[in-house]
Symmetry: C2
Subunit: 472 residues, 2 copies
């Protein structure tokens, strides 16, 4: 059953009108016809052509609702992400052209028939999302209903699909179709927030900062949380010997006779970050935010070593840290931004030769993994969120056995990380709220027709994160 | 300062006398001479010669105290372990002969001068351990005083040294020198157990079952605990969505609008075990013990698939399970022992195609790692305690990213696992308390002079675990 709406007079339609589009969503309960969206006209899109480095801005048909769970979203801003460069450079073995982009914030302009008030037992948005609502989409589709979604591993949803591939046109466009939209989208409208919890006021946040929720801020927070939640880090956080923390509260009767207790120096947590691109900065800010909380509540002492070979990225990281540090309560931990060589030196000097307790790998190649491995201590954790390619992992069995290394690999379950990422976004507007300033994560917002130059500049490291405004 | 002792009349010396040895430990506070042990005579030892497969039983000098922290232990029983076969087969690149063995239970016959009542601020045993005490040694030395020991990562102690290498003669002998003995040894005498906790009565336990504490039972328990403590398993155990469990209690204000809650089927924990040698059986029994506790306290439903290609090992595992299962309260989980092919089938059939939540890899080669990877589900954990060799890990970057796999590699911190392992040993005497029966982990106890045959039989899979009694 279709949920309603769709006359040109409803509030949510005004942007469509402004841009000359016409669409109608039939209400099958009223009209008796099959629910569908009928749209006419074309839109502007950024399209990539194989084999590589070929970006064109073209006209394309406006996407239509083709499944009852679909939403059509009018794109307010679309991001250019480091992983777009994998496609751009031809590293993904894609042999067909595609509409690029997987980071969007936008406004719902059409909904499939699954969206109706009596959509019981399904994700909440199927009964509450309205045309006109502002939404963020994670970069992958997640139904919200399968085992992986229910448990929070949303990036491995049974219906998972990356935005911006040949089968699912991306968001560097004026409109995008979002499948399984009631599970995939995150509504920024406060009427969707439960009254039983404090309502975060997202209205104060700029669109450009909200766009960071689509991928890079949750991914950075995920990198940090994988490290901090690991049971091999627990003894440092809670001040109890391994293996007595964690979810198995084994009742132990025998006594540990033969080691002395934890000392102050054992509770210094040293974390390395390898890679200071936009995701690496998000990971560092998330980590600082979480650690400052733990320092306050549990007396934790922490040290962070943020590493990148590029001077420009290190400068950005330093500016971000200075902004945060001067913006309010001073943070108590030790913090350094370092080149690769300096990072290696510091991870030894600051830890009496032991190395980092955990390393966040935010690059996605074997050099970064090798560096992470080199600076992590025995029983340390490598939390790897970089998007890796075909080469074998650069480790052998004896090495990882002899070092007692733990690894967490893989894609961020962005949709499940949203609540945590929203909190960080709200607290850290000093960093995330600006565009084009020294400490801004986002360098500039450009029209779609600058996409070819933007891709080239971003690929060559001549700029930081760029957003597209498809209506300029 | 030497702690005393050492006349042939003291109680702890009687065994030495029985075997014709004479030793004296000088008390420097009394005698004014440097503390040292003076022993005469020879002992019988099992010695390996390079390059491979050459085991001889020979005479060798009785070890002496050469450092103040040393203890000399008269070996009651010594184990033959799967990892002894790495040396036996010449896989460890050792070019000198050595006295074999790293699993011992024994009795203290001499102590260095560090052992004295006023040994303040050091591990408890330096002030409480006495000649005559019964002890178990883990298979690596751990000082109990460095950062890694204090935090519980005892196998990566700064003074770590494997027993049974050229530099540190092993335990398949009548006597062994244990360095850093106040940190390394575990005393089985109840006077060393704190009065503030219930005293486990270890006197009921046979020497052969206590020997399992030296390596294989803690290693099995470690494999299980690494999986159960992992934050990616936490949602199943605690019934809360990832990532909200764990040590970072991030206060979240935004609401998860777009997925439905966990259902009963999401709380079924499926764990595979790859490798059913003695350590694999210990891992399985430990896992069953921990999971039955969680099933009782938290309503967890669990499924275990124990996999080995060898029929003889599968039969042993089945006999162990039957013994436990019939021995008391029935366990509620689903349990299967399977060949490799059947294991793959079951891990799909029992999980609607998703695979195991965690896999315990207890073999130590790439075939086992590959099988573990194949049957683990996305966001699953591979807890690898197998002793791996030089080949590169059989995984590539894209694979582990696309599967969101977590790995915990490495050696068990046996010394830190003792309290948990002792509890399991006490509860599971139905399995661990017998020798030579259908469900026994230990097949037989033989004299040292049968070592050449024992190594060969064990290497060829013609027998299960063998212990040596060096006094028969």
């Amino acid at each position: 059953m279709a949920r309603s709406v769709g006359s040109a007079e409803s509030p949510g339609d005004r942007d469509a009108l402004n841009t000359g589009q016409v669409y109608i969503i039939c209400d099958s309960a009223v009209s008796g016809v099959e629910p569908k969206a009928i749209m006419s006209g074309t839109q502007r899109v950024v399209r990539w052509y194989p084999p590589a480095y070929d970006i064109r801005v073209e006209d394309a048909p406006i996407p239509q609702i083709i499944d009852d769970d679909d939403a059509i979203v009018k794109v307010i801003l679309a991001g250019l992400c480091g992983s777009d460069l994998h496609i751009y450079r031809g590293h993904e073995d894609v042999d067909r052209d595609l509409i690029c982009g997987h980071e969007i914030i936008g406004e719902v302009v059409a909904l499939g028939s699954s969206f109706c008030p009596d959509s019981i037992g399904r994700p909440e948005l199927y009964s509450t999302l309205k045309v006109g609502d502002k939404v963020v989409s994670p970069f992958t589709v997640s139904c919200g209903e399968c085992h992986f979604c229910r448990i929070g591993f949303t990036c491995r949803c049974k219906h998972s699909c990356l935005l911006g591939i040949p089968a699912l046109p991306g968001g560097q466009a004026q409109y995008i179709r979002i499948p399984k939209a009631g599970g995939t989208l995150f509504s920024l409208n406060s009427h969707h927030v439960s009254s039983s919890r404090p309502v975060p006021d997202l209205s104060t946040l700029s669109d450009s900062s909200l766009l960071l929720l689509a991928d890079i801020l949750p991914t950075g927070a995920f990198a940090a949380i994988q490290a901090l939640q690991h049971p091999k880090v627990a003894p440092i956080l809670i001040g109890a010997k391994y293996p007595f923390g964690g979810f198995v509260a084994h009742r132990v009767t025998a006594r540990d006779q033969t080691s002395v207790g934890l000392q102050a120096e054992d509770r210094i947590l040293t974390i390395g970050i390898v890679g200071l691109g936009p995701v690496g900065i998000c990971a560092t800010v998330s980590l600082l935010d979480m650690l400052s909380g733990l320092a306050e509540s549990q007396g934790l002492v922490y040290q962070i070593i943020a590493i990148d070979p590029l001077e420009s990225r290190r400068s950005k990281m330093e500016a971000v840290y200075d902004t945060i540090h001067s913006g309010g309560k001073a943070w108590t931990g030790r913090f350094a931004v370092a080149s690769i060589d300096d990072g290696k030196k510091l991870s030894a000097e600051w830890t009496d030769g032991a190395g980092c307790n955990a390393v966040l790998e935010v690059v996605g190649n074997n050099n970064a993994l090798t560096l992470s491995y080199e600076i992590v201590r025995p029983f340390g954790i490598i939390s790897s969120v970089g998007v890796h390619q075909e080469p074998p992992l650069p480790f052998n069995g004896r090495g990882v056995y002899d070092k007692n290394v733990s690894f967490d690999f893989g894609r961020c379950p962005v949709r499940a990380m949203f609540p945590i990422a929203v909190d960080i976004l709200l607290k850290r507007q000093d960093v995330f709220g600006s565009v084009g300033e020294k400490a801004s994560l986002i360098d500039k917002i450009v029209p779609l027709n600058e996409a070819p130059d933007a891709y080239e500049d971003f690929d060559k490291g001549r700029c930081g994160k760029i957003l597209f405004d498809p209506w300029r």
